[in-house]
Amino acid sequence: MSGLDRFLRRDDSLRFLSREECAALVDRIRGFAQGGGKTEVAVTSWWSGEVRWARNRVSLASDRRDIRVDVSRTLPAMTGDGNVTTNQLDDVSLTAAVRQAERSARRRKHFRTDIVTSAPDFQYAKPAIWSDTSYGVTTEERGRIARALLDPAEAAGMLSAGYLEVRAQGTASTPAEKPLMYAQQTTAQCSMTVRDPEGRGSGWAGGSSYDWTRIDPEALARRALEKCLASRNPVTIEPGRYTVILEPQAAHDLVVWVVDALNGRQAAENQPGPLNAGYDTALRLGRSKLGLKVVDERLTISHDPMDPALGVIPFADDGWGPYPVQAVTWIDHGVLTALSYGRGYAVTQLTDNVPIAPRMAYRMSGGPTSVEEMIATTKRGLLVTRFSGVHPLSEGLFTGLTRDGLWLIENGKISKAVKNLRFTDSPWFLLNSLEQLGEPVPVFSPDAPAIVPPLKARDFSFTSAIDAI
């Protein structure tokens, strides 16, 4: 029986491919290979249950599932590999995919350094990334929750728009001649924007976790509504340098770019940027800032896949077969202590077979100050809910917009809602201008979990006023 049939006939208790099914599938695909060489396969299959709403009514509820099979063929004495993707699991489709990958491999002239022939027997972590509860959130439950979330907004005369999703995914990856790596993972997310019907105010709140029970949708709904009501009729203020209090979500929206820059030792050594320490003419090497202080010494940024709130799929693969995602401390008390690198770089540049996997999941250390205390100790500053449209301008400099709640703080108190602003600044400058840090909490980050504190920093640069609410 083909995998497709089994995928079809299964009852609804399993909505994606199991480890055994992926293993059988990979064996089948390898059996179709002709001409020797290597066959690498990655299989992702997923189910997603969703409900979306707007103007206080559910606008769409959905149940979706799909498969993705990536076949990669490398032929002996050929320098290129051929890659083909399909979403069908029958023999005919898979044979055709393998043949196509082989044709493509013959055509490719890309160089591929096959130095990394055999991987050591890596040990893999078993992170907490699966929740039966998340997988068991039914259509009925999603509908009930959505209705419970938009009722308070409607009662207050406001308009709620939001999205709730529970998702399960099986991910399999196979190095050539090695056993299959497999992980099954759930993710859940809920976020909503409550707006004043005249467009005078907007508030947002969101949460995400592998485990639905760690999200409190009613609390999110209250928060979005409160923020909307408190943000109404904002006044215009001049752009300029402000002390900012960033709620954890706003801090994440900037710090995520710091974490992004930690992904790539080679890049930090070779390309101009905030983590490049310049070219060493004696050694004829580009150097990174490893070992140097890069941010405030109160800050440690790390990731442990075994952290119960920061689980990720425990293997990474950058084309040379899977390797483990291990615990790493990127920045230790302000000093850059690690940058990620893949297996190719590990073997060719460092004579070391154990890479550091890139990832976006992270924990940022905090401090003892609550947001209330930050406000109370601020003479003049801005309280930021979150940022939107953040993107790089040049070498560590970014721009973006405040969104869904921005308030002026004067003499230790929130004095008024203010209109949104565009910033032009660097998260690296931000993390070197810290005044206070609060308790780290999970933020909305559906693709990779993150635990981030609220923070207060001075001299954050807002460059123009915007009228969007």
Binding site: D66, Q88, E154, S461
Partner: protein
């Protein structure tokens, strides 16, 4: 252009003749799998009907089903991905449900039909919601193939590779040039759509685009530029083969050589009259009025995702709101040959019409689907206009539920025959801009244009004095508010100066990718704010 039986037979023959290009994915019409046939195969209609029967049987007031078969290539024209999908959408008491998966079989059609109704019915338990679908005549067995000259999936990938290689060799014959990126991307989608209102139609659409970047060095001075005209289109391989690319390369190199003779200048912050070339003008339209005139967006349906619109009270503003100068007229269509939103039927089964969004500067309509056109029924009736959808429903594939997506947009050119160079020649003092990335806020209101590329001094912004480009301004940006920008439109280039460019965008939760073309002439705007975007406050 529904295809005739004769055309169909020809297509069938063509498929048989190119059996080397396999159709490997399987479909289950009965118990036994067989190769997925061309989308025109009549058995697919019966398969689609299974989903509709199941949905109707489960109590759907309206239901439709989409089957999609997608192909895409990697960067060198080699087919790299193929997938099948089916999605069923059902309406129960004003609530929508949707279910989708990767299997084309009778059982799966029935399961998805029931599941879509289950999704809808579960949510209809809450407060009442009314959906009035704008009327649309049922399409009886319509078949359409986007008229491309060369199907990129029917020719040998070697032909595409050789062509790209020849372009690289040609370019690098010019002293000082080196090609940085040269890629060609192709997609093909076959789709069948059936609805409980009796519509059944199939279509095959194509997409082609390229990335072509090269550097030019003269001594220690260098520039990098992208060849214009390879943004996404609804064309086949002719986008490359039939375009005068060698001439465009020669022109671009000549232009870069000229640029290298111009002095470089830092930004002097201030307000300047500015000439934007066709691509930049199209980019401004794609970032502002394009999304702002999506009716669902204006009503807050995207508030939790990409954002809403600066047209904050759409019903009150319709027919009276001044979006720009009286020289600004914007129409929309999904029918222009080569447009990347071009289709014969939208994902509601509606034949999209050509319609006007902005007439002489005034907002006169919105982008709509059958559902969102229903929200305008009163307005259309009061103004004696037909109650219909403009055919803007689209889903990236059948895995995704349809959303309202932006159609192809066309900004009307001016009556005088003036191109970019003529407009520059007519400028006493100001700036001229040939390349820009636009980034706008979540109401598409306040925006910033970056006139350079990250990490390089590669902008194409010029200081203009007495009609001549006298210096290249390095690292500049602009700031604008959309209504003021479009009201400051001074002059619009002539019909021959308009160009079409394709723009990719995302919308919805879960996010879906989309593509539409924007055709615009070069234009002159009064007193644009020039900034140094890298300067902190």
């Amino acid at each position: 252009m529904p295809i005739t039986r004769r055309d169909f037979l020809k297509t069938g023959a063509a498929v048989a003749a190119t059996a080397a290009a396999p159709r490997p994915l399987l479909v289950y019409f009965g118990r036994k799998p067989e190769a997925a046939p061309p989308i025109e195969d009549s058995r697919l209609k019966d398969l689609a009907a299974k989903a509709l029967e199941a949905a109707r049987g489960a109590g759907a007031g309206y239901a439709d089903v989409r089957l999609t078969h997608d192909w895409s290539t990697g960067g060198f024209g080699v087919a790299a991905a193929e997938s099948l999908a089916v999605g069923v959408r059902a309406l129960v008491n004003g609530y929508w449900g949707f279910a989708s998966g990767p299997v084309w079989s009778s059982d799966e059609m029935a399961r998805l039909g029931r599941e879509a109704v289950h999704q809808a019915r579960t949510n209809s338990l809450g407060n009442s919601r009314v959906v009035e679908l704008a009327p649309a005549p049922a399409v009886k067995d319509g078949h359409w193939v986007m008229p491309v000259k060369i199907d990129p999936f029917e020719i040998s990938p070697s032909e595409i590779q050789d062509f790209l290689l020849s372009l690289k060799i040609y370019t690098e014959r010019f002293p000082g040039t080196s090609v940085q990126v040269l890629e060609a991307h192709f997609v093909k989608q076959e789709e069948a759509l059936a609805s409980t209102e009796g519509t059944y139609c199939t279509q095959r659409v194509y997409g082609s685009s390229g990335d072509f970047w090269f550097n030019l060095f003269k001594g220690d001075k260098g520039l990098g530029r992208a060849l214009d005209g390879l943004t996404p289109t609804g064309l086949g391989f002719e986008l490359f083969r039939d375009a005068p690319l060698r001439e465009a390369i020669r022109r671009l190199i000549a232009e870069m050589e000229e640029d290298l003779t111009l002095p470089e200048k830092p930004v002097e912050v201030g307000r300047y009259d500015a000439v934007f070339n066709a691509r930049c003008t199209a980019g401004l339209l794609a970032a502002t009025l394009g999304p702002a005139t999506e009716l669902d967006r204006a009503l807050g349906y995207e508030a939790n995702a990409g954002g809403s619109s600066y047209i904050t009270a759409p019903f009150d503003m319709l027919g009276s709101y001044r979006t720009g100068a009286s020289s600004l007229t914007v129409t929309a269509n999904r029918s222009e040959p080569g447009g990347c939103a071009t289709v014969q039927w939208d994902d509601d089964g509606v034949v999209p019409d050509e319609f006007t969004l902005v007439q002489d500067g005034v907002l006169v309509d919105f982008q709509t689907t059958r559902e969102s056109a229903g929200w305008l029924k009163g307005h259309y009736a009061a103004h004696g206009r037909p109650f219909r959808s403009h055919g803007c429903a689209a889903a990236a594939s059948a895995i995704n539920a349809p959303l309202q997506r932006t159609p192809n947009l066309v900004m009307a050119p001016g009556s005088e025959a003036a191109g970019f160079d003529d407009l520059v020649a007519g400028l006493t003092a100001g700036i001229a801009v040939k390349d820009m990335l636009v980034d706008v806020d979540f109401q598409h209101l306040s925006g910033a244009g970056r006139l350079y590329y990250e990490g390089a001094r590669m902008g194409s912004t010029y200081e203009v004095k007495r009609g001549k480009r006298v210096a290249r301004i390095v690292g500049a940006g602009i700031l604008f508010r959309a209504p003021e920008l479009w009201k400051s439109l001074l002059k619009v280039g002539g019909p021959a100066s308009a160009q079409r460019h394709g723009f990719l965008d995302t919308k919805g939760e879960p996010a879906q990718n989309g593509c539409h073309s924007v055709t615009a002439p070069p234009a002159v705007f009064k007193q644009v704010t020039l900034i140094d975007p890298l300067r902190r406050a």
